[in-house]
Amino acid sequence: MFFLHDETTGRLIKGLDAAALRQQVTAHNLANLNTPNFNRSDVSFEDELMRARQQADTPLARTHEKHFPITPGPEINPTIKTDTTTTRRIDGNNVDIEREMLNLVSNQLRYNTYVQRLNGRFDNWRYVINEGRR
């Protein structure tokens, strides 16, 4: 994939993966709105990215010069986390309908944004290829 070698585009694509997965997970949460003892789940990706970025600003110290320098910025992948900490109703279910609905909306907007950024990159490439004709 030689057009998409740069890191940002790779992360954009992973972001799209995460958003698509999040839609599915939220749909599953909503489907089980009234299922007894059900635990809602979440997809975490952007938070991990933010955390990794914050860690990158503070380089890790080495105790021995022969140690490998840890360059922060590992590969972040979307992960599904099951949430067992939020409040439960009497039937043991912890799905909050308002929260899930908000997730639907915000996730949709996130997806749209990533698609738009990706299209921006493709437009750049297309421009370079076509204008290079001259």
Partner: protein
């Protein structure tokens, strides 16, 4: 219901809530049914929902494991919800003193179904809320797919 995973998941919820509404409607319709073919008053029915997971038909909800990879297909097992069973509520029927009633027992009490109007109405509203929420989920999924088709254009 269809190929798309989100539609399948939300579709399962729509089906399940519709079933619940049907059961509630049956309860309400038979609120005053004092005689049934099996003998005795009508018994209230409830539905039992359970989480539908791929490769697992166990009734207990299973915690979804961590998925430490970027692959979105196959690893997440959530498939929506299903109606496990429709239970009959075996609690005691309501007793109403009415000696004139043809179904009155020796003591003059008539056994009425154990259906409470308030409970059924609450359940109905809950079912409807869930139904609407899942319809929204379907619409959102549709917008996401439509947006995906715009990649590159």
């Amino acid at each position: 219901m269809s190929f798309f995973p989100e539609f399948r998941i939300s579709g399962s919820a729509l089906t399940a809530e519709k079933t619940r509404l049907d059961v509630i409607a049956g309860n309400l319709a038979n609120m005053n049914t004092t005689r049934t073919p099996e003998g005795g008053p009508y018994k209230r029915r409830t539905v039992v929902f359970s989480e539908d997971l791929a490769a697992s038909r166990s009734r207990r909800a299973i915690v979804t494991p961590f998925v430490p990879s970027s692959a979105t297909g196959g690893a997440y097992r959530g498939q929506g919800v299903r109606v496990d069973q429709i239970l009959a509520d075996h609690r005691d029927p309501m007793m109403v003193y009415d000696p004139e009633h043809p179904d009155a027992g020796e003591d003059g009490y008539v056994l009425y179904p154990n259906v409470e109007l308030a409970k059924e109405m609450t359940d109905m509203i809950t079912a409807q809320r869930s139904y609407e929420a899942n319809v929204t989920a379907v619409q959102t999924a549709k917008s996401i797919y439509t947006k995906a088709l715009e990649i590159g254009r």
